[in-house]
Amino acid sequence: MQRFTCPFCGLRDEREFSFAGESGKTRPDTAAEVSDADWSAYLFTGTNPRGRTDEIWVHTPCQEYFRMIRDTVTMEVLETVPLRRDPS
């Protein structure tokens, strides 16, 4: 069993967390015209890197989304960062 660090709750059982997607994607401005290709890239494609990866995860009990930087081969968690600047 691995434990991940929720930036809000601290070290918790990995089963309390869910993967939400890769970091760094910006939702296209849907008030404007969005091409099918751009929308598809936003929804579906990713780099799915082997090694260091930067992802968005959610901690189910506190419902906070945060960034997790980890290694997809060793499974080591390198850093977890809140998305909000002020995690209060």
Binding site: M1, Q2, E14, R15, S18, F19, D36, A37, S40, A41, L43, F44, T45, G46, T47, N48, P49, R50, G51, T53, E55, T72, V73, T74, M75
Partner: protein
């Protein structure tokens, strides 16, 4: 060399000294008409059908490790075509049909055993969904039946029929033509047949990049030098994104570990493949007597070829509730493979976005059953540079057009 009962008998008398190598180990040539990256089942089957149906062509398969060392040699070997959408049935049933004649075609015993598969239903609501699934499968033109509890009990008495079970059994979806085959034999059988038709199979040769000239893929860079090609086909499963990045393409794929388990050999206790979506576990018995067990994906995206403990607990805990007689059976081995999961749990076949480079990937947890069809269709795509009718719906463009084939939702894919 043709394999036969007579040859087996003769070699038995001669101390097994007459067997020859099943395939050559050639050095890569400077150029081929078609280079296939990945020597798993899909890559090897593609090479075989290219040579068999589209030749004469100069074809090579380039594999970074050994043949079948990826998911093909790690899977739980369930073969079935009980999917929901017509596009999927066309694909997977072509595969089952090809499997039915494969041992003879390849002159290699792949041990395809059509023992049938039970997908158990655990409530009256699940029975209604089961009826819907059975109707859909039949409308798509393949076989399925809905069985009641008594019929399931007659087939597989070791399952948990207690009304107090965590998920009592109300019946099952049955596909009689489903079954299992020997995974290594599928890879080796295709390799041997492709080799005998002149395909170069190059092992211990990793593709590290692509030769791109004027915006077109013209070959591969490998640890054994540059190999030029008219067309390049990629069939590297869980490593598709990593290799795609080197070709400058981003794919709708996430790589996860999928685990499997095998127990010590026991006497024959289950004749079918039994799968309970509710318990999250499935199992069948190998010819050696070991119970081959699988379940769902790990929840953490991964390239580490080993599983994590939460899923291990879930699958084995579910299994013991599903078939309590197995509680004291010891595990012999436990492993994982890295599978390539798409948003709709359907594969990707066709153009990659980089001209000259084509994709066969996204089989995720269920591509062993599809090896003959995947190879057959990918050979067509590589030879013609265009889709076969059956592969067309699985093009990468479905993620842009929105015509997804969402088997993840429709058939509740577990493998």
């Amino acid at each position: 060399m043709t394999y036969s009962a007579f040859r087996l008998f003769r070699e038995g008398l001669r101390g097994q000294r007459g067997w020859t190598q099943a395939w050559r180990s050639p050095d890569p040539a400077a150029e081929y008409d078609i280079v296939i990256v990945g020597g798993g089942g899909h890559g090897l089957a593609t090479a075989y059908y290219l040579a068999k149906r589209h030749g004469p062509l100069r074809v090579a398969v380039v594999e970074k490790g050994w043949l079948g060392g990826g998911n093909t040699g790690r899977n739980t070997t369930v073969i079935r075509s009980n999917y929901f959408f017509p596009e999927s049935t066309a694909l997977y049933d072509l595969s089952v049909q090809l499997y039915e004649g494969l041992s003879r075609e390849l002159n290699y015993n792949i041990m395809f055993s059509q023992r049938g598969m039970l997908v158990t239903c655990h409530s009256e609501a699940e029975m209604e969904m089961g009826a819907r699934t059975v109707n859909a499968i039949r409308l798509n033109g393949t076989d399925a039946d809905l069985l009641g509890t008594a019929q399931v009990r007659a087939l597989a008495p070791i399952l948990n029929f207690s009304p107090d079970a965590r998920y009592p059994i109300h019946g099952a979806i049955w596909q009689g033509r489903a079954g299992t085959a020997r995974h290594d034999a599928v890879a080796w059988g295709y390799a041997r047949a492709a080799d005998s038709l002149g395909v170069d199979i190059i092992q211990n040769c990793e593709v590290t990049g692509f030769v791109v000239e004027g915006g077109t893929c013209k070959g591969v860079e490998t640890t054994r030098g540059t190999i030029r090609a008219g067309r390049v086909g990629m069939a590297v499963a869980g490593h598709s994104s990593a290799l795609g990045t080197r070709a400058g393409i981003a794919l709708p794929i996430q790589s996860y570990a999928l685990q499997a388990f095998v127990t010590e050999p026991v006497k024959p206790i289950i004749d079918q493949v039994a799968f309970s979506p509710a318990y999250g576990a499935y199992f069948s018995q190998s010819d050696r007597g070991g119970l081959v067990i699988g379940g769902g994906l790990d929840r953490v995206p991964s390239y580490g070829q080993r599983g994590n403990t939460p899923l291990h607990d879930e699958v084995l805990g579910g299994l013991v509730d599903f078939a309590p007689i197995l509680a004291r059976t010891k595990l012999l081995r436990h492993w994982a493979g890295i599978v390539d999961v798409t948003p709709d749990s359907s594969p990707i076949l066709g153009a990659s976005g980089l001209p000259g480079l084509f994709l066969n990937c996204g089989w995720g947890t269920g591509g062993f059953k599809a090896i003959p069809a995947g190879g057959y269709l990918f050979a067509h795509i590589l030879a013609e540079g265009a889709h076969h009718d059956i592969s067309r719906p699985f093009d990468l463009d479905r993620f842009v057009t929105g015509r997804l084939i969402d088997e993840g939702a429709a058939a509740g894919i577990a493998h």
